[in-house]
């Protein structure tokens, strides 16, 4: 599995990048956080935050990682941007293995891979002006701008819907939505190719949330951005994503196109998750039969064996406790890790569609 990383020395800058080609691929990604105890700080266990993820991201698409708290989606985002180092597995960005790059080696790549954070209050330094915050990437990366950093920053502010006059103001003078725009402007400063957005709108009010969602979509179109969106709000995810990966306890349980996932979810966890979301439509109140999952998500320190969802799954049988279901493609572009998937076409029909 773990072939020694081929350190492609970025021999030649790739030709004009094309939409649809692979920009990022992840293979068997694992992150365990050791739990240490006692004077000797011996390791007594590990939080298995991310436990074997394999997926890829194509240029220009939005891939969303969804799941409940503790499923490892945020850790995954931090691994992709290499704010964390994976325990094992491989992250390849534009053909280059970045899984174990040192900080200094990683720095040039930070231009290409950026992150938007969830908390618009915690992610901006309150002592810095907006100009300094948004201009920081230029300074850190020693990027020369044509008309000076100030001009560049003001252009960025305009781009995200703020006024260039905001240059000398401080973050506390702005509302949550505006702060998030400041964060987005900083993210865009160096024209990244891949943006990992960790819950970019979940701290915002609905009306502001919609503004930011639209802004992210516009920016994606304008700059051919690729997004990895980390979110728990399944309605937002349905709106913004091209593909969706559903995570449960550190593993991907289902990965599919947006439409497929929402209309024909296969994994019981996805089915339960979708049915749990309250729908703003009073007529559905009576009709909708909700699947009630029992209990809470188990601890990632000691996850259940085999299929990790079996403790809460209504379809679980003996095999689910013994054999782990692999993530396999059950329909074109639709991967599921389940022994008893839902919404799977009958074998005959399947053969038909396989032609």
């Amino acid at each position: 599995m773990s072939t020694p990383g081929t350190t492609a020395d970025a021999e030649s800058t790739p030709a004009v990048p094309k939409i649809g080609e692979e920009i990022l691929s992840v293979d068997g990604l694992v992150k365990h956080f050791p739990i240490r105890k006692g004077i000797l700080q011996r390791q007594v266990g590990a939080v298995q935050a991310v436990d074997g993820l394999t997926f890829n991201v194509t240029r220009g698409e939005t891939l969303s990682l969804v799941g409940e708290s503790g499923c490892g989606k945020t850790t995954t985002g931090r691994l992709l941007t290499r704010l964390l180092e994976p325990t094992s597995g491989k992250i390849v960005f534009e053909g280059r293995d970045i899984s174990h790059l040192r900080e200094g080696q990683m720095r040039p790549l930070r231009r290409d891979v950026q992150m938007i954070f969830q908390d618009p209050y915690g992610s901006l330094n309150p002592r810095h002006t907006v100009g300094k915050i948004v201009g920081a990437p230029f300074r850190l990366q020693n990027v020369k701008t044509e008309h000076g950093v100030k001009k560049a920053v003001q252009e960025l502010l305009e781009l995200v819907g703020l006024s260039p006059e905001h240059y000398n103001r401080y973050p506390h003078e702005f509302s949550g939505g505006q702060r998030q725009r400041i964060g987005i402007a900083r993210t865009l400063a160096l024209r990244p190719k891949l943006i990992v957005a960790d819950e970019p709108v979940s701290a915002l009010d609905v009306s502001i949330q919609a503004q930011v969602v639209n802004l992210l979509e516009d920016l994606q179109e304008e700059f051919d951005l690729t997004y990895v969106m980390i979110a728990h709000d399944l309605s937002v995810v349905r709106h913004v994503s091209d593909r969706v990966a559903v995570m449960y306890l550190g593993k991907i349980v289902e990965l599919a196109d947006r439409v497929d996932l929402y209309e024909k979810p296969m994994h019981p966890y996805t089915v339960a998750l979708l049915s749990a979301v309250p729908v703003p439509d009073t007529k559905r109140k009576a009709k909708q039969e909700r699947i009630r999952l029992q209990g809470d998500v188990p601890s990632p320190i000691n996850p259940p064996p085999a299929c990790r969802f079996h403790t809460r799954c209504w379809k679980a049988q003996e095999i689910c406790k013994v054999t782990e279901p692999p993530l396999v493609e059950l329909a074109p572009g639709h991967q599921t890790a389940c022994h008893f998937p839902e919404n799977v076409e009958a074998p005959a029909a399947k053969a038909d569609s396989a032609d």
């Binding site: 009010d205 609905v206 502001i208 919609a210 309605s235 709106h239 749990a276 309250p278 729908v279 809470d296």
Partner: protein, 366 residues
């Protein structure tokens, strides 16, 4: 600066909109009858008009959803019903009748006796709403013994029953656990158990599921609904999530900048919303139940400061239809009026204009 607010400073006599008969004005009509409630906070920068004249009624067994964004005054409303504002900090005027008793004029001690027994509240963040130093059981026992003359042992037994009732596994062991030993969902359940330990007639749930994951949220919403049926209590659910109110609420009040802009049955609010702000909320929401329309339709701008609420209709700077009524929305504050069938709207647009805008501009794009 810090003068109490002149009462009825504006022509905001919303009671008249309710068309109520004059005789019952004295003691309130419904089980919970809130009339022209105003909660103003004097600050150095000016008076923050968090709630500026709202009225609603609620009967036992019914659920009222209060919807709005941050700063719309929904939580302040609930805190004033519970009597949880610090004296001297907030200027509260208007009337809040709970089963005939006016909570605004009652003393703090009188309101304290009602809390827990007659009315209880579930907060958004159970970790900060529970005391970290005491076990969950101790806190439920304390709440129970304030209103019931029973021994600690009996109260503890009751606490275990309540924990069992809200679906906490192994309640006899969990009763001795501390809040931090519970998961988020369990903590929220424990708080519901505490709130319900004295069978309150009125339950206020302030963003009860916002901090929770969807599957746990579904469990908690089911729980609130089941318990309401069982105890026949009146429930106020405060949330920014239109999905949650669609599931639980019988009636919905939409709030903006401290006032109600629309009030009707849940069906009406979702099928025939009349206020441009409500349209804005619906247009801002991505849908999980159908494929997306091209773009979301956000409300432009940001919510106003409650110190400087825009003149006239508070929503007019963000409203796409404000130009339609010859500047009335910039000068005159619209009253909450009945447009038929008890559907109350505070908007200067004529019913025809509203109908047309909804049918042609908004509905097809949702």
């Amino acid at each position: 600066m810090t003068e109490p607010i002149e009462e009825a400073q504006d022509s905001a006599q919303q009671d008249s909109a309710q068309q109520d008969s004059v005789q019952r004005v004295e003691r309130g009509e419904a089980f919970l009858d809130v009339r022209d409630l105003k909660v103003h906070f004097p600050t150095d920068d000016g008076v923050v008009k968090s709630v500026d004249g709202i009225s609603f009624q609620l009967e036992r067994g019914k659920t009222l959803g209060i919807v709005g964004e941050s700063g719309s005054g929904k939580s302040v409303t609930s805190l004033s019903i519970m009597g949880l504002h610090k004296p001297g900090v907030a200027n509260i005027s208007g009337q809040i009748f709970l089963d005939g008793q006016d909570l605004v004029t009652s003393t703090r001690e009188e309101v304290r006796l009602l809390r827990g027994k007659r009315m209880a509240m579930i907060f958004q963040d159970p970790l900060s709403a529970m005391h970290p130093f005491y076990t969950v059981g101790t806190q439920i026992v304390e709440a129970y013994r304030v209103h019931n003359q029973v021994s600690k042992a009996v109260a503890k037994k009751h606490a275990i029953e309540m924990l069992d009732r809200v679906g906490i596994p192994q309640p006899d062991r969990r009763v001795d656990a501390y809040p931090h030993q519970f998961s988020g969902g369990m903590r929220q359940r424990a708080m519901i158990a505490m709130a319900l330990s004295c069978d309150p007639d009125l339950l206020i749930a302030d963003e009860p599921t916002t901090a929770l994951d969807v599957t746990v949220q579904a469990q908690i919403l089911d729980l609130i609904r089941d318990l309401q049926r069982e105890f026949n209590s009146a429930v106020i659910i405060i949330t920014h999530d239109l999905g949650v109110v669609a599931e639980l609420a019988d009636d919905i009040q939409v709030m903006y900048a401290g006032r109600a802009v629309e009030y009707s049955t849940a069906e009406d609010i979702f099928d025939r919303p009349q206020h441009p702000y409500t349209w804005g909320l619906l247009g801002s929401m991505p849908r999980i139940d159908r494929e997306r329309s091209e773009r979301l339709m956000p409300i432009k701008g940001t919510p106003p400061s409650l110190i400087n609420v825009p003149k006239g209709c508070a929503f007019n700077p963000r409203c796409n239809y404000a130009h339609l009524n010859g500047g009335a929305s910039e000068t005159e504050r619209p009253e909450l009026l009945d447009t038929g069938n008890g559907h109350l709207v505070a908007c200067h647009l004529s019913p025809q204009e509203r109908q047309k805008a909804w049918e042609t501009d908004i509905k097809p794009k949702l």
